[in-house]
């Protein structure tokens, strides 16, 4: 009857030729892995890592550049904006200054004109008053002289009457 374990112990006794072939195969395989397979793939892994790293650094460089350019443009834009606002501000202040200057000039001129007019009016009034005083005096004197005649020879009375008349004249002019 056949059983599983016929000659089972033989399984665990290595044979000489088996050892020889196993060793030969092990040496060949190990040499293959040590000298060719692993170095080759390590080189590929390293190269790949390098390339990926290089790409990453390149991308980083590009990003930095872009950031820098963007910052530059933004700075320029801000500068321009500041300049523009400054210019408009300047213009506005200039304009207001001009306007106010014009205002003051016009005001002063107007005031001057008005003052001049006032003065000339006053002087004319004065003149008129003086001339009127003289004329009214003489006219009244003459008139009174004619009316009163000799009665008015006396200087004092003459003077008193004159003053009275002028007062009256003043009052009437004031009443008007």
């Amino acid at each position: 009857m056949m059983t599983l374990a016929d000659g089972g112990i033989d399984l665990f006794i290595p044979k000489v030729y088996d050892i020889v072939w196993s060793l030969i195969i092990l040496v060949i395989v190990a040499l293959f892995f040590y000298k060719f397979f692993m170095p080759k793939f390590n080189a590929i892994f390293d190269e790949r890592a390098e390339k990926i790293e290089g790409n990453i650094s390149k991308a980083k460089q590009a990003k930095d550049d872009a950031d820098k350019a963007k910052k530059k443009y933004e700075d320029q834009l801000n500068q321009a904006r500041v300049d523009a606002s400054k210019i408009t501000d300047d213009a506005r202040t200039e304009a207001t200054k001009i306007i106010s200057e014009a205002h003051t000039r016009a005001d002063s001129e107007a005031a001057q004109i008005a003052a001049n007019a006032q003065r000339s009016i006053a002087s004319q009034q004065q003149q008129a008053m003086v001339s009127l005083k003289g004329q009214v005096g003489t006219l009244a004197t003459a008139l009174a002289g004619k009316i009163l005649g000799a009665k008015l020879q006396d200087g004092d009375v003459q003077q008193g009457m004159l003053d009275q008349m002028i007062d009256g004249l003043d009052k009437t002019s004031e009443k008007k």
Partner: protein, 75 residues
């Protein structure tokens, strides 16, 4: 097989021995995998490490069963 023999037991006694020898490693494997699962559930982030240790344990437990097998072969 003659008439007097009612039940014949044929085969190899060492097979029974091997059957007995698998009980221990069977229990061991059960505990091993159960505990590994438990600890992986507790700390999923450690699963790689746990798995490595589990396979080392598996190898050691498995050896016991295989020793029984070898004993069966050798007799």
């Amino acid at each position: 097989m003659d008439i007097i023999t009612l039940a014949e037991v044929a085969g190899n006694l060492s097979v029974i021995g091997y059957g007995l020898a698998t009980i221990g490693p069977g229990i061991g494997l059960g505990i091993l995998f159960g505990k590994a699962m438990e600890s992986t559930a507790r700390q999923p982030e450690m699963s790689g490490k746990i798995q490595t240790i589990m396979f080392i344990g598996l190898a050691l437990v498995e050896l016991l069963g295989l020793l029984g097998f070898v004993a069966l072969l050798i007799k």
